[in-house]
């Protein structure tokens, strides 16, 4: 069972994601953006960072890189794809997830621990969680305010595709808990089939409570992904 983490020029958290997955027992390797080859991996992670400098628009150039010509059909065929932060932005640009991530309402970059409440456990990414669980995971982004048109939002709500929302420590979803002005406090969404998940918070920076914000809640998400692959193999 192998997980590929794509390395775009300007990716910053690709080694962190691979390290976190390895800590949780997975085989993780880097996939080079310039090669249209997924090397037979069982799942793909698009990591955080500033792919191609995030010039033009976050993720807008990365979606055209050679590796994405393989990631898109992999996802369409049901392969598991997780996009974190910049990776979420790339997934939206690539049309694998609806909506877009725009400049934070506060106009500044924010690096902080946030709480998110789990609202959907149907996908392969939150199987280790239960609805209503509150996870503490850091965010670090300048453009993480999720937006989508009203019809799309309504459909996603109806389908239960809004997976995590920014919340207070008690799980309540309030404007105060929203770090970037995201519509409906949305922190992460999935596709209809449940095999593509994008989120702004960084689970790979919350697998070892000894470092960073002192939380290991990110292991719930990355561990669920690993479980799904192990389950598929068994």
């Amino acid at each position: 069972m192998r997980i590929g983490v794509v390395q775009f020029p300007g990716s910053n958290d690709e080694r962190d994601a691979a390290w976190a997955l390895q800590q949780l027992g997975a085989d993780a390797e880097l996939l080079w953006h310039g090669e249209a080859d997924l090397r037979g991996v069982d799942a793909v992670v698009l990591p955080g960072g500033f792919s191609y400098g995030d010039y033009l628009r976050c993720g807008a150039i990365a979606r055209f890189s050679p590796v994405m010509t393989k990631v898109v059909p992999f996802a369409t065929d049901g392969g598991l794809v997780l996009g974190i932060c910049n990776g979420f932005q790339v997934l939206c640009e690539a049309g694998l997830l609806p909506g877009a991530l725009v400049r934070n309402a506060g106009l500044a970059f924010v690096c902080d621990a946030v709480d998110v409440v789990v609202e959907d456990v149907e996908s392969s990414f939150l199987a280790r969680a239960e609805i209503g669980d509150v996870l503490t995971i850091p965010i670090k982004h300048g453009e993480g305010r999720y937006v989508a048109d009203p019809a799309t939002l309504e459909q996603m709500e109806a389908d239960g595709r809004i997976v995590v929302r920014y919340c207070m420590p008690d799980g309540s979803v309030t404007p105060e808990a929203n770090p970037n002005g995201a519509t409906g406090n949305i922190a992460g969404v999935r596709n209809e089939a449940g095999n593509v998940f994008g989120m702004m918070p960084h689970p790979e920076h919350a697998v070892d409570a000894e470092v960073g914000i002192g939380s290991a809640d990110g292991a719930v998400i990355l561990g669920s992904l690993i479980d799904a692959l192990v389950g598929a193999e068994a």
Binding site: G10, F50, L107, C111, G142, H205, E210, V211
Partner: protein, 731 residues
């Protein structure tokens, strides 16, 4: 060119008449325009250290852990297991004053390339910043711009910003200080030198195209008095491209991984002139440079422009001809242009060609190492005696010390800087044990049980009252901060921010500060591995307070035993290590409450400081303490408040002085002190460990207020509110 026009040109490039004559003597002829521009850049104060050299060489630079000291791109210290830490602190003050966002951004980029040039992966950044008080639109714009520049650039290149300081004083209103420290990690075997060797080896220029930005940066901006016309110098500020830097970092690290490099240097101040002359001079070789090969942004650039451009995101690699193709291919894969522009030659001359013509022919050493050295006049100014006569102990004692504590806590210097560091990515690279907000940041050395602790410190007010003591305090406080995490201080980098060296009082301040720094570093056995001097920090003839900033690096053998500042458990005993003396000179209290700057700074007892550092490390190692916090700016009162704020729990403290002396006891900034907490059962062991160092039991942790019996009681929530009252300025 005629002598008259040559001299005139030299003067316009900020060279002096003597320096021009020295160039003529070196060459045995008049320099041409291109050569003159190269000398002007390389002999600028910024590049040549001509006013500071005679003092800097008195600093201790050698020690057990030092692998590489001053003279290379950055200092290197052994941190065990074959790993070495590379670190350096540098200023980007004037560019940031003129254009805060780009000035700060390119400050980050420049120091990162210095560390990269040693072969290390940059793993952390810290930013000591100084501004005028944030009550004017201009100061808030500078502050917001600088923070935004650091945030944009540092975050984009994937290096965590884990610490630094932001302080305010009217002295910095016209001339803010933007210092940046970078730390890198590598192995001994991978260390690179900025040295060219091997006749026939190729000099590859890596990275961004060369443009007209930053021409004269070192001579026009960094090495001249700063005045009202400074805004017009904006074209001398470089513009940063963090994406270029990020791919340049990765490409260089891969070149080193593959063992393809003979030498590596960065292009910073004085651009290509500096890179080719320094690498050639260090290697005792000559170099032939072909300017036609340099990728340009504008085709019609003149030779002097190509040679002195400070376009960012460029490196200079010396490569064996056999490896050139592979090196170029590695760079191509990362999207980094790599072009052969030079060839190592026999002899010692730099010969530079442009469009078939020889445009410069100068000895490399004369540019890089044989610049002028000045022993400028230095004399103690009379004004300092007037200043030192103002005795802050004579100021009226305030009635409501709770109110005073709130006021000091909410002063811009003491208040929480969370709004600043929340804009920095302090998590990337997944090794941040302790990020911003504590005494020192702690980074895990991956694959080992160890961590490194880092802190930057410097107090300009102390420096103004007594530059020697000011520098000693900077070293002592940085060491204390590192020691409060349980780490052992190892080595120092510095950034010496001073006024105009052509003024005797400034030179005296500088000489005093370097002497004090040397004395403290010797006492602590923390050698100075390098750093940077920033002169001409003045506005309209008014110098800044002398502000030597110290970056201290320490090592924690077992990082799981690290200590932080937060009060932990109800019932823990609060203990003062060290002694408080009536010392309010230059204190935050005197300034905030009375707008008073006078008297003398606290005395420095180096022996006791050293004993305290050792005690803190021993207590952490024996796991006897639950928290430790350095007691410095704002004194005991602020230290206690910060421990309570971080822990979300109060404390009850017994006053040890008469009511009318309480304000002195609470706000004195005596050195060699720390506030620690321990379990009741460990108090006896702690006492024993402390030996001769005086300690005082202050009280116990608990409750929801900081209560100092008979003096003040402030709820922890109020302390938090006072500390967080500053809102982020909008850039």
């Amino acid at each position: 060119m005629s002598e008259r026009s040559g001299l005139e040109l030299a003067l316009s490039l900020a060279l002096t008449k003597d320096e021009y004559e020295r160039i003529v003597a070196t060459l045995g002829r008049e320099p041409n325009k291109t050569e003159l521009a190269m000398y002007a850049a390389m002999w600028s104060e910024h590049c040549s250290y001509k006013s500071s050299k005679v003092y800097l060489k008195t600093l201790p630079t050698e020690g057990e852990h030092i692998v590489m000291g001053p003279g290379e791109n950055a200092g290197v210290v052994d941190v065990g297991d074959g790993l070495v830490a590379v670190f350096k602190l540098e200023s980007h003050n004037h560019p940031s004053a003129v254009e805060p966002v780009q000035g700060a951004a390119t400050g980050v980029g420049g120091i990162v390339r210095d560390v990269l040039a040693t072969g290390a992966r940059p793993i952390a950044l810290l930013d000591p910043l100084r501004f005028g008080e944030p009550d004017t639109w201009r100061n808030r714009r500078l502050l917001g711009g600088v923070v935004s520049g650091i945030s944009q650039y540092g975050n984009s290149i994937g290096i965590p910003t884990i610490g630094g300081e932001v302080k305010f004083d009217p002295t910095y209103a016209g001339n803010p200080l933007v210092n940046v420290m970078c730390i890198g990690i590598t192995t001994r075997e991978r260390i690179q030198h900025a040295t060219a060797s091997g006749e026939g080896n190729v000099g590859l220029l890596l990275g961004a195209k060369t443009g007209r930005d930053g021409i004269g940066g070192v001579s026009v901006l960094a090495s001249r008095p700063f005045d009202a016309e400074a805004e017009a110098k904006r074209p001398s500020v470089q513009v940063g491209d963090p994406f270029e830097e990020k791919i340049l970092i990765e490409a260089c690290l891969e070149l080193i991984d593959r063992g393809l490099l003979v030498g590596l240097g960065d292009l910073g101040g004085a651009g290509l002139s500096c890179a080719v002359s320094e690498t050639a001079s260090r290697g005792n070789v000559g170099m032939e440079v072909d300017l036609d090969a340099v990728p340009l942004r504008e085709a019609d650039m003149e030779p002097f422009e190509i040679l002195t451009s400070e376009s960012q995101e460029r490196m200079f690699a010396i490569v064996d001809p056999e490896h050139v193709d592979e090196a170029v291919e590695v760079c191509r894969r990362w999207g980094v242009p790599a072009v052969p522009v030079a060839r190592v030659s026999r002899g010692s001359m730099l010969t530079i060609r442009h469009r078939g013509a020889l445009v410069a022919s100068v000895p490399a050493r004369s540019l890089a190492d044989e610049g002028p050295v000045y022993e400028r006049p230095a004399s103690r100014p009379d004004w300092i005696d007037v200043l030192r006569k103002g005795d802050p102990l004579a100021l009226p004692a305030p009635d409501d010390l709770g109110e005073v504590l709130r006021k000091v806590l909410s002063s811009p210097n003491i208040a929480s800087k969370e709004w600043v560091w929340s804009q920095y990515d302090y998590l990337v690279q997944h090794n941040t044990f302790a990020g911003p907000g504590g005494d020192a940041a702690v980074i895990r050395l991956e694959g080992t049980s160890r961590g490194i602790a880092v802190s930057t410190d410097g107090n300009g007010r102390y420096g103004q009252l007594d530059p020697r003591l000011g520098a000693m305090h900077a070293v002592a406080e940085a060491a204390r901060n590192v020691a409060c995490t349980g780490a052992r201080p190892l080595a120092v980098t510095n950034c010496l921010n001073f006024g105009n060296p052509e003024r005797a009082d400034v030179m005296w301040q500088f000489a005093e500060a370097v002497a004090g720094m040397g004395e403290a570093c010797r006492a602590f056995d923390t050698p100075v591995t390098g750093g940077n001097v920033s002169f001409y920090n003045e506005t309209d003839g008014e110098s800044i307070h002398p502000t030597p900033i110290v970056g201290m690096l320490g090592i924690l053998e077992d990082a799981s035993k690290r200590v932080d500042i937060a009060f932990k458990s109800e019932g823990d005993v609060v203990v003062m290590l060290g002694e408080t003396f009536p010392e309010l000179g230059g204190s935050e209290y005197a300034w905030t409450v009375h707008r008073h700057l006078g008297g003398t700074p606290p005395e420095v007892d180096l022996e006791r400081e050293k004993a305290l550092q050792e005690l803190l490390a021993a207590l952490a190692d024996d796991m006897l303490i639950a928290s430790a916090h350095d007691c410095s700016e704002g004194g005991l009162a602020v230290a206690l408040a910060e421990c309570a704020i971080e822990g979300g729990i109060g404390a009850t403290i017994e006053s040890v002085v008469e009511r009318d002396e309480a304000h002195v006891w609470l706000f004195s900034e005596s050195g060699a002190r720390a506030v620690v907490t321990c379990a009741q059962k460990d108090l006896a062991k702690l006492r024993k460990r402390a030996g001769d160092l005086p300690i005082t039991v202050l009280g116990t942790v608990g409750g929801d207020a900081l209560a100092i019996e008979g003096v003040l009681s402030v709820p922890v929530d109020d302390l938090i509110q006072a500390s967080e009252h500053i809102a982020a300025p909008r850039p």
